[in-house]
Symmetry: C5
Subunit: 353 residues, 5 copies
């Protein structure tokens, strides 16, 4: 399967607006977690059926988290109940969306990605996380039962902290902050591996290093594709004129925009670092070829002339005066030593060793 | 023929506005398909003659699809009947246009490309698809009898779905959506081949890989040239103030704009991936040269000195004391083994194997 | 002479506004062709003297074409007669201008380039073409007696076609269209040669290919320098608020803008294609080095050990038991064959052939 | 630890707005230096306890410098006393911020970096410097006890100079100017080392040069990441409409913007210079491989044929007529010399030496 | 000394606004040339003392040219007399400024560079030229006694030409035009050398070519750094709303802007040409390595097997039947010739020669 595009066979020929889940089914059943809270109270529920979800209470922050996107029918019921447009629902189900944001029919829709490591393929894969922010509710959609948002859940439960005193928009900010923080962690992890590669580059010179370089570049490309648009998404949110975003949340969103910029810049820096490493590796390889060549040349240039000398005195001519000389053999050896010395001086002068 | 420009010999020296078909004639006769429908009714007709096409009914969506652009005369009659400007008609006939959009004399004109695989040349080729949207009709022009739009036809016939309830502008959106979906399919296909190349890169090292890399780059360049401007085209449409575009269609167009962005980004990513592969291939090649050199150097450095030793005792000097020793021969063999051992230790130390 | 800048020795130290012809004199005498026409009538004249040119008739389109820019004195008289500013005249004479456009003292001034092949230098050279559009006249300036505009002349003479019914601004558009069409032809020509190079790249590996690549890059650079600003020039014209540009001409100019964009994009694509070819060529070369090395290594690694064996039995030791064996010689040959077989298996395993 | 991102373990899962120090603790205790002055008077104090800091006098410029960011509790007291928002405080404590600027609740907050050389790692490291400008005070935060600002302190003490006559905003400018000046010094220092590398490039060809190139690139990347945003920061400040920035300070800020641009451009230039050096180094290496190859080829091509000749006359055939000739041996030597001469002429013609 | 930054030791720690000369002292004494003229009259004076300069006559154009910037005290007196701000003066003295322009306290300040060849270092160096345009005077500052402006002086003296009829702003334009013309000359000169390099690239292959390429790149970088901002400078001037710039001068300034653009583009083109040359050089080098390798391989592959054959018949086995054959020796020679023929055909087939 192409890594940067998901298989769209299910979609082609379908009318826009038809609900089809694009992506691999990652869990068996749909799984719904609802938390509704205000400063004083907090209620948590879990459901496997959309219809059991109670009506959101307008005096509370209502967060409905859906894990699993394959049950199109249930999601259709959710859609009509919360008055989400079918185009929005289609965007949520098609997990091959670019990160983006838009307002439609009284909702703010945010589409983002999270990353998890697929150990089988030894590569990161992206999962789509979508948020639909309404007047009194925030619905989040995930492909798998995720624990990304557990820190936020803990903060809600803990009763302290700002989150219990704010509205749905602040909750949306908190969840996005959670995701962007996880981006930075992943980038940091890959960054560490890239920096460790640095030492190998000059030592080892086999295909494993090449494979590693190539793998890092593709991972960084995957992150780049899915993280770069986040800056725009957050920027849009912080400048949105929608009444859904309270004025006091804006300052947090501006901070988040900066964090997204930092993530993008870090990806760029590590990407260019890996490019450098490939160059350095290649240049170092040429260095080694040069060294090998020099060893060969020194050996060959010294011994081939000597072999010739020996060969000459191995000929069977009737009349070779030197052969008769008593010390002829030792003179030959002497000449050979002289040749070696001359050659060594020659290569020394060329600074070959 | 230059791949990124079509032969313009037919055009040079002609006045702008003269109708000339630029491009290869791809079918024999012009072929007209008309579908006119509303929520209740649907009528389909096929013609080979422009004049037989009935007047569009203002209470229906009228879609006239023209296959074949070489019959300039028929198209001229069509032009004057539907009040299309001659400059627009010229743009439709000149199949070497960049994708673009403009409003003129009451029409919105959209020029796009579709791609088909030319099996002879083993390469993708582009075909120009043009749309002229009027108040009560949408005319589409293709170079060949195409089946790109069959999914849309099926949806129209099926009676269900949004398309029967909407206007000509929604039909235009559906057709464009159809084309952009086909772009993503093609990019996915080439993307898969690019990713499969990854494994070959480190294994094989002959010209076939180079040819493949080069071919992919040129195909991606062709797509880039013809797909990148689509984003602007769709963006213009979604922001157009023309009364031809209904307000409720805009949200679909914005979605389409995003799809076009995704296509462009995927092309960019695969292009940079192929560049990487060329680099990796080259570096791996240097690796192999290095390996070959080492084998040669080890062999030559070990055997050339031994040959010299044998050569020395093959000389015919009268007085070579060693030759007289009873175990001389075996001593020589012993010295040779010692030399081999020393050399192997030397190369081992250099970590050459 | 530097290829991307013309020699400015004539200019340095001169006051701005002094008329000096910068560039090589390309023809002997100034040559003036005047065509004035309206829908009913057409008059053509040729002159060698500025003063003989009759006064432009305000009821006609008056096109005065000047070939040759070295006769500064005549041009000065023209300048004052048509009320052209001296700075404009200076720009026309200095043939090293970038393509550009501006309005000044009631004129629109357009400076463009045409290209011709200098067969001596086996390279393209640029020639400056300038247009001065006034209320009732269009003056065009060329360095040489050019035939670029013959197609336009033929259209004017033919009585049919739009050109006879329109004004000077449409004539200006027609001439610019003529030039941009010629750009596309030239780019197509070089594009074809670039694409033909593709096959040579993997076959041949001598300097001629390198020279060709280098030459194409420089030609594409020359085109890029002179064609890229055209888009802005045409864009300025299509958006100009000057009364000299009629509303009905704008749609043609927008078309022209697109053509200019297409030319620029084609240059970019061919440029990147040539870059690719250089890379592929280099990588292919490394492939060949690798192949040559393998042949050498296989030969050397097989024959050097055999030579050693023969050398050993060529020594003159008194006591070498094998020499006395009756089948000793054939046993040695057998050992040699065995060594060859072992080595071939070794290299086969390494997949060297 | 990843070089371009700091370890965020302390942060993950924490609510935004929770004060956590991100970064290594660099000093033991918090250290506070206060200077308050006007044209006539100046007072300096040092404290280890936030609460001892006296109330800022509105008729003076009050500069409070905090060294050490790990004592979160003290900083929290400072925060509430000076009415700094907790989000701002968080930005100050998280030392992995990008350089940036914003206005919030009556303060202008500026976050910048300074660089110091970590001799252990033989690399530059960045330290975060933050400024909070209020109506009558400027608070600066550093991770370590820094001497960056000593020149400014000296100028304040000296009684002369503009600084004593101006307000807090001019003090902020002075401190930022101090930092940007230090950037230019560091870039100059690394620039000198880069330029010195130039000579080594063509002489030496071992890994040490590669390591040096690689190290410079990473250092320049670190500077680029932390210095490039400064231009925007200063630009924002010079265009700010806040009453905290006096009109007469703007002209100084514009000057500073230019200095920041200069720093960024210098980094870019040195970066591209190092890239060049890597290319030149690689190309030079190929030159050397070529030279080594030629020596080998000349030696082998001359001596191997000679060895063959000697070998032929070393065969033991019964009937080899040449062996019987009296001068046969000398004729053989003559032939050998002839072969050498012919080969030398051949290589001379190829211009191999 | 770092080439792209000047040593700032004199500045660090100084208050902004302190007058310090940054740069090397290039002449002994300050040297003042004053020309004041109108259409009728002209007066020229030279001084070594600022105080001797007479008051500018408001009915004339007053041009004061200062050569030498090290005499800070004199310049301070000039500053206060002409009411120039101390920040401006600081910019003039710090000769490491980027080219820029600003209005301040009734003056327009322009900072540009000129280039001169330092024959010792065999490289171009930049010199800072500053202009301060006031209501009735233009003051220009140079580091050395320069002759850049002699052509303008000649034009003023000559009484003819526009310059005598215009104001200080036109004089400023003339001086800037003079400088930009000199840029184009220098770029043309280096351009010619770059184009001459083209032929060497394919012929020579030693370090001298590499050094030349590297030197050109650094020179082009120096020009790029100092010339690119000029376009903005001139653009600012041509759009300035200041009363110091007369309407009739604007058209000249727009022309100048174009000239600056042309200079920048020429630098870019030559820079990319040099990059190309480095690539071509490297690729050509690989070509040569390949050729050398082939010669070696052909020689070795032909002669090593022959040597083996001779070696076999040089062995001293008791029973080698071939040795007894009368024509054995000649048969061996025949086999050798056959081997040579076979090998040559083999290499011919591989198209190695």
């Amino acid at each position: 399967m192409a890594r940067f595009l998901k298989n769209r066979n299910g979609l082609q020929g379908k009318a826009p607006g038809t609900l089809v889940h694009i992506g691999r089914q990652k869990i068996d059943k749909i799984h719904i977690r609802q938390i509704s809270f205000n400063r004083e109270e907090i209620q948590e529920h879990q459901f496997n059926d959309i219809d059991s979800v109670p009506e959101p209470d307008p005096n509370r922050v209502n967060w409905i988290n859906i894990d699993g996107l394959h049950d199109v029918e249930s999601l259709e019921r959710l859609r009509s109940r919360f008055n989400i447009s079918s185009l929005t629902m289609e965007d949520i189900l098609n997990t091959d969306q670019r990160p983006r944001i838009y307002e439609e029919s009284g909702h703010i829709v945010v589409i983002m990605k999270s990353f998890y490591r697929n150990e089988e393929e030894e590569a990161y894969r992206s999962e789509q996380i979508s948020f639909v922010l309404g007047a009194h509710h925030l619905i989040s959609f995930q492909e798998r039962i995720g624990d990304h948002f557990d820190p936020v859940r803990d903060r809600i439960r803990s009763r302290f902290g700002r989150i219990r005193e704010r509205n749905d928009d602040y909750l949306l900010f908190s969840l996005m902050d959670c995701l962007i923080d996880s981006y930075l962690s992943i980038i940091e992890k890959i960054g560490e591996r890239v920096e460790m590669l640095e030492d190998k580059i000059l030592e080892k010179h086999d295909q494993s290093v090449l494979k590693e370089i190539y793998a890092y570049r593709n991972e960084l490309r995957l992150f780049w594709k899915n993280i770069r648009p986040i800056r725009e998404v957050v920027g849009f949110l912080s400048k949105a004129t929608s009444p859904l975003i309270k004025e006091e949340t804006r300052i947090y969103l501006m901070d988040l925009e900066d964090l997204a910029t930092q993530a993008t810049e870090a990806i760029d820096l590590y990407y260019s670092m890996v490019s450098d490493q490939l160059n350095i590796y290649h240049t170092n390889l040429s260095n080694r070829v040069n060294d090998v060549m020099k060893v060969l040349t020194i050996f060959a240039s010294i011994f081939i002339p000597l072999t010739l000398i020996a060969g000459i005195y191995g000929t069977n001519f009737d009349y070779i005066p030197e052969l008769k000389w008593h010390w002829g053999y030792f003179m030959m050896l002497g000449v050979m030593v002289a040749v070696v010395v001359v050659m060594l001086i020659y290569f020394k002068r060329k600074r070959w060793f």
